[in-house]
């Protein structure tokens, strides 16, 4: 079990050792004397490359699996089979090779640029979309001591990079020279700006309690078990639960997923900012969206679900990185589940929800967290903070939803 736990790190070290050995061997063979700085610089470079390749490989595989499993899960929720045909020669493998077929299809499709499009921006938009999405995952702690890039301000880095995708969506929408695209882009920007606030606020809540902006530090702050059995994850505190839900909703909105898929709202805007994209550019957008979704789910796991900590003490023999990816899969599954269930918000309702419900709630969570922090984290603190988030929830909920709704308030008359 220790072996499994350390497998990724050991592999990395093995590669680095091998590179060093080969270099030394080459130098000895050729008689070149390396300057002092050369070997450390080379090893740094190699380790960076290892990180890049690993992250791209892992997230590409996850993207591929997600794209087929999302469709299969959605299909099952809708009582269908989903993709179950594409396999390897005559073995169908439950359609697991569907992403390969999709990739071939996307690659071989004609890449259409509308005549009136702004060709440069139209070309740059997918790149501007995928670049931030791919750097997002580097700050996540995947396991004990497995942070690709250890940043003391990791959370901030995440949000700073995440801001880039808005720009890409705007570029895509505006450059396509299509009314649907521009409207989709405007919606996307409005939505992302609105939801970034509660998203960041609910992350700040965690940073406040953990006292650090480093993802690894936040995960370490959630180590241990109260009463020896209940993990000290932030999601299991009242403020943490609320902040987690807010973060989850914000994550749905930021990754343009149902019920916040207004920018590409198919029933209204055809495909929003993606309307004029085809072939591999479209595939890149698609990929960036999914990688961004994984990254933000990973952050959610890190912030609230204890990152790589195991949920029960006697399960600690399972490697920490398994726990991380397991939790990530659960969050991703829940996003598919939400997608299978809910209809889409309308634009004004979406904005109202962000500003009138989520933002006040995130402030309430902040206050509750501060109370919890200073009231000694005991049962009393638990109760008080529950009160602080519960009351605004009821009041705001009443104001936002139930004022005019309630299906049972409607009267229906019958005539014989």
């Amino acid at each position: 079990m220790n072996f499994l736990e350390n497998l990724p790190l050991a592999a990395k070290k093995l590669i680095l050792d091998a590179v060093e050995w080969v270099c030394n061997w080459l130098c000895a063979k050729t008689g070149i004397k390396l300057p002092d700085w050369a070997m450390p610089a080379l090893l740094t470079l190699v380790s960076i490359l290892i990180v890049i390749v690993t992250i791209i490989a892992v997230f590409m595989v996850m993207f591929a699996l997600m794209s087929v499993f999302e469709r299969k899960i959605l299909a099952r929720m809708q009582n269908r089979y989903g993709p179950n045909r594409v396999g390897f020669f005559r073995w169908r493998l439950c359609g697991l090779f569907q992403p390969v077929a999709d990739g071939i299809k996307m690659l071989t499709k004609e890449d259409i640029v509308p005549r009136g499009a702004d060709k440069i921006v139209h070309f740059l938009a997918p790149i501007a979309m995928v670049a931030p999405a791919l750097v997002l995952p580097v700050i996540l702690p995947y396991g004990r001591g497995m942070v690709p890039i250890e940043l003391s301000t990791g959370i901030l880095f995440f949000f700073a990079m995440g801001a880039g995708t808005e720009l890409a969506v705007f570029m895509a929408g505006w450059s396509s020279n299509n009314k649907y695209s521009v409207m989709g882009a405007m919606r996307a920007i409005a939505q992302m700006i609105s939801y970034e606030l509660p998203l960041v606020m609910s992350a700040v809540v965690v940073a406040l309690v953990a006292g650090t902006l480093s993802p690894n530090g936040i995960v370490e702050a959630q180590a241990g078990y109260s009463f020896g059995i209940i993990p000290k994850w932030f999601v299991l505190t009242p403020w943490g639960f609320v902040a987690c839900l807010l973060f989850y909703i914000g994550a749905l909105a930021e990754s343009n997923r149902c019920p916040f898929d207004l920018p590409e709202g198919e029933s209204e805007l055809v495909a929003g900012h993606l309307t004029e994209y085809s072939g591999f550019k479209y595939a890149i957008f698609f990929m960036a969206e999914y990688v961004g979704m994984f990254a933000i789910n990973g952050l959610l796991v890190t912030l609230f679900l204890g990152g790589y900590q195991s949920p029960l003490p006697f399960l600690e023999w399972i490697p920490s990185w398994c726990w991380f990816f397991g939790k990530l899969a659960c969050v991703a599954f829940s996003m598919v589940w939400v997608r299978a269930t809910l209809p889409r918000f309308r634009i004004d309702q979406m904005m109202q929800f962000a500003w009138k419900f989520m933002l006040p709630m995130s402030f309430a969570a902040l206050i509750a967290a501060a109370t919890w922090y200073y009231a000694g984290r005991g049962p009393a603190a638990w109760g008080i903070s529950a009160l602080i988030v519960g009351v605004p929830y009821l009041v705001l909920g009443r104001l936002c939803f139930t004022r005019r709704h309630a299906a049972d308030n409607r009267r229906y008359l019958y005539s014989e």
Binding site: L74, M77, Q78, N79, R80, G116, D118, W174, S175, N177, N178, K179, Y180, V182, M183, M186, C258, P259, D261, L262, G265, E266, S267, E268, V270, R339, A340, T341, L342, P343, R344, F345, R346, I347, D348, Q349, F401, R404, H405, A406, A407, R410, R411, Y412, L413, Y414, S415, E416
Partner: protein, 382 residues
């Protein structure tokens, strides 16, 4: 007009100074229920003008019927509102029977009521799925609705040989009697239906997002609905008590005990709920019809189907179709072909107040309002 966001701002699209945006929604658009088109002028995302454009699915239905024999138009009526072909058959048969003064055997009338109400159920079920699709839900409700609709279509296939293009009604009855065991199977199916409807209601009617999307959207007053000539669930959602099953009392409906639900607000949510309530009433009708259906002939033997020649005259026959008043206006010169054949399609006439319902709403609401009217382009454009 050309749209060039690169050189202008978003608002430039309609020429200098204008602050609105013209968008042509359709005919190729994911949620226009076919090839419907709306020319929409928007201020931001708010609709300030909406012009429906019909006719992309025009198939010359009425003129074809005037070139065809009386019987030969029957299969074409399947293709009017292809979601519920049996009621189209029924309306045409009612009109011709009225024109020629044909008696319909009692068993045939019961069969007509049974298949007609099954059609209403499957139409409204499909509606529940469609409107969720218009609201942007990813098809779960639609798939559940189609799962159930499929079972009704199986019954139709067993009965008529085709799932949708049934060509079932004949002048003075129905084409063939119920197969052995059909009635039991249909009854068993109808017994299971309320459970499914409860599940759908659990999925849909309490959902906060759905409520927010439907309530207060596309409000239509009863007065306007009457003035616009609306009919069916759209009219009754606005609080007007008008159902041709009660008004005309055609077929054996007067013998059946059922109620007509109607709404109080007239918004999309009322139209949505009304479909659910109507399904529940239809189930009651079906249960009574299953119990009461007598033995006997299913086709009036006096009527010659081939070379059918009604006496010269004029008749307007109508029924309460799932989407509203479906009527056929026929003029006969006593020949083998109708002189004039006109359809009163509920989808088209319900659509005429679309702009009025949509003004001032958001573009996303337009799709929901259009969905709540429940149109089928085959019937709108004919």
């Amino acid at each position: 007009m050309s749209f060039q966001p690169h050189t202008t701002s978003l608002s430039k699209a309609n020429g200098a100074g204008a602050s609105t945006l013209d968008v042509s929604l359709g005919p190729q658009h994911p949620s226009t229920h076919g090839v419907f088109r709306m020319n929409v002028r928007m201020d931001g995302e708010t609709i300030v003008k909406l012009q429906p454009v019909f006719g992309y699915l025009h198939r010359n239905h009425e003129k074809l019927a005037e070139k065809n024999s009386w019987l030969g138009s029957m299969p074409y009526t399947d293709r009017l509102d292809y979601i519920c072909p049996i009621t189209n058959n029924w309306a045409y048969a009612v009109a011709v029977e009225k024109l020629a003064g044909i008696e319909v055997p009692e068993r045939a009338e019961y069969i007509r009521v049974i298949v007609g109400e099954l059609t209403r159920i499957q139409n409204h079920t499909a509606f529940l799925g469609f409107i969720l699709g218009d609201m942007g839900a990813w098809g779960s409700a639609l798939m559940y609705a189609f799962r159930e609709r499929e079972k009704i279509l199986d019954l139709f296939e067993w009965l008529t040989g085709a799932r949708m293009m049934v060509n079932y009604m004949r002048f003075g009855g129905v084409r063939c009697d119920l197969p052995v065991g059909w009635l039991e199977k249909a009854r068993a199916y109808v017994e299971t239906y309320p459970a499914f409807l409860d599940e759908m209601e659990q999925l849909l009617t309490g959902n906060e997002i759905l409520l927010a999307r439907l309530q207060g959207v596309g409000v239509l007053s009863g007065e306007r609905a009457i003035n616009g000539g609306l009919s069916g669930p759209v009219l009754r959602a606005s609080g007007v008590d008008y159902d041709i099953r009660k008004v005309d009392g055609y077929g054996v409906y007067p013998r059946l005990n059922f109620r007509i639900p109607r709404g109080t607000v007239g918004d999309c949510f009322d139209r949505f709920m009304l479909r659910i309530l109507e399904i529940r009433e239809s189930i009651k009708i079906l249960q009574q019809a299953f119990a009461q259906i007598p033995e006997g002939p299913t086709l009036n033997p006096a009527v010659k189907q081939r070379g059918f020649k009604p006496p010269a005259g004029e008749a307007y026959g109508r029924i309460e179709g799932p989407k509203g008043e479906l009527g056929f206006h026929l003029i006969s010169e006593g020949g083998e072909k109708p002189y004039r054949y006109h359809v009163r399609p509920p989808s088209l006439i319900n659509l005429t107040l679309l702009e009025e319902m949509c003004l001032g709403t958001k573009i996303a609401d337009v799709m929901v309002i259009l969905g709540s009217i429940d149109i089928v382009l085959g019937e709108v454009d004919r």
